[in-house]
């Protein structure tokens, strides 16, 4: 088990009901963690519509999670 911090934005923030949380997980990768959270919280967005950032930088979904990392799941963007 490792401890990770997650920030939520936009639709994910509203579906989760909080802007951030710290939790313990057995997930090995960012992709596994999103699948775990999606089934727990009923997120409507599939991972293939998202990107993930780890420690403030875009990262691949198969990036290994280490203790203490900060993750952001990034919904489809709509700036401008």
């Amino acid at each position: 088990m490792k401890t990770v911090r997650i920030q939520y934005f936009a639709l994910l923030r509203e579906q989760r009901g909080v802007g951030q949380e710290t939790l313990a997980t057995a997930a090995a990768t960012a992709g596994e963690l999103y699948a775990e959270l999606r089934s727990r919280h009923g997120f409507t967005l599939p991972a293939d519509r998202l990107r993930v950032a780890i420690n403030g930088e875009f990262a691949p979904w198969d990036a290994s999670l280490t203790d203490g990392v900060e993750l952001v799941f990034i919904p489809p963007v709509a700036g401008g």
């Binding site: 920030q7 936009a10 639709l11 519509r49 979904w61 990034i74 963007v77 700036g79 401008g80």
Partner: protein
């Protein structure tokens, strides 16, 4: 040369002065304003939310790409966050160059890339009381050249 995420109103005079340079003969700007309709639905206001730290990093990369592709003197941009009303300025891009080709090309490049890549989200509040997050940019499922090398998992 920075791309700022700002919760405060954008001060155009300050930005314009920051672009001034004796080599600059051409200045192109783009402004995105909150308009009263989208896809045929009446819009009352907009909420912008940003993952500011990463948006500013990605924005700086976009500006650097524009400088590499076009012959520029300077480039600067700001994106608002917060609850904006009709007519409010949501995003501003300003570019200076010796000649207008570079200025127009870079200004267009920056706003196009910003809309596709910056982690910024927009919630529209409609006249009928409903509101919705827009899901505009899913460019290549985010597996772009600028993105991570591996594809996303299913799930």
């Amino acid at each position: 040369m920075s791309f700022q995420i700002s919760s405060q109103p954008i001060d155009l005079a300050v930005l314009r002065n920051a672009l001034a340079h004796p080599h600059a003969g051409a200045c192109a700007t783009f402004e995105g304003w909150v308009r009263n309709h989208n896809d045929g639905r009446p819009v009352l206001s907009l909420e912008y939310e940003a993952y500011a730290g990463l948006a500013e990093k990605e924005g700086a990369r976009i500006l650097a790409e524009a400088c590499a592709k076009f012959d520029l003197v300077a480039a600067l941009a700001v994106h608002r966050t917060g609850h904006l009303q009709l007519g409010d300025l949501a995003v501003w891009v300003g570019v200076t160059a010796a000649h207008r080709d570079g200025a127009f090309g870079a200004c267009r490049y920056i706003i196009d890339e910003a809309k596709a890549r910056l982690p910024v989200w927009k919630k529209e509040h409609y006249a009928d009381g409903v509101s919705a997050w827009l899901n505009c940019a899913i460019r290549g499922g985010f597996s772009t050249a600028a993105g991570p090398p591996s594809g996303p998992p299913t799930g």
